[in-house]
């Protein structure tokens, strides 16, 4: 995975195993930490451009999903209706 690292310390432009790396980054973003995940993350983000981009893209998608897809208004009478049905079966 270390091919294409250039000597000036810039990020390499190609990732040696995108599938494996991206899945790992997604797990880390999901809070499913594995051994040494902090170090792995730091290493990938500083050394690999595709990993860096993928991580930030995934992070942005998670944020918009969380902010824009959880605001479905619950019908006002639903809770009362549930309570009433529960009283009936008690």
């Amino acid at each position: 995975m270390e091919k294409n690292v250039n000597s000036s310390g810039e990020r390499k432009l190609e990732c040696g195993d995108v599938n494996k790396c991206f899945q790992l980054l997604e797990r880390i973003l999901d809070g499913e930490d594995c051994d040494g995940s902090k170090e792995i993350l730091k290493d990938k983000l500083s050394k690999c451009q595709p990993c860096f981009e993928h991580y930030h893209l995934e992070q942005a998608i998670r944020e918009v999903l969380k902010n824009k897809c959880t605001k479905q208004a619950v019908p006002g009478e639903l809770a009362a209706s549930i309570r009433q049905k529960i009283e009936e079966i008690k």
Binding site: C15, V18, D30, P50, R62, I86
Partner: protein
Amino acid sequence: MSEVQKKKYSDKEKNNIFDNEFMPHIDSMYNFAFRLTFDEDDAKDLVQDTYLKAYRFINSFEQGTNAKAWLFRILKNSFINEYRKKSKQPSKVDYQEVETYYNSDNVDYNITSDLRVDAVKDMLGDEISNALNSLAVDFRTVIILCDLEGFTYEEMAKILDIPIGTVRSRLHRARNLLKDKLHSYAKDMGYDADED
């Protein structure tokens, strides 16, 4: 859930669990139900049925365990058993085909390299929502559970009755499908990576 249950909770305890551990999740439950059924009345019925089942089988709920995950599991099962048939969404048929296609190794990077963070951040709620809703129900569900509701992989495995490895791979494929959809929206919005 077994029909035969030991009596475990008093009426007072049952009400206490129901009010303090079950009802606070009604917003999340409704959101999940609506994203499964795409219909307000079906979503209401599904949530109501779930809460009635939860009350009826309350003795099989272990106090101190994750009530939200327990409720989501009941809702998901009710949806599969009773609502899926009548809902207007496409059936599960396309799932295998899509899963096989997205299992190929080179798909990920091609999508990612064309979709940019600023395009995603500029998207409207409707676009994000439509992209999510366009996914087949099994893919949509894992994204809802993980990203909208914050369940862990282990909780998702229990809710969905699938192994944790399947949760992981299904989620990865769901994210690729979602990015693919978002990418077409980004192109429509005028974001084109080729122009950089």
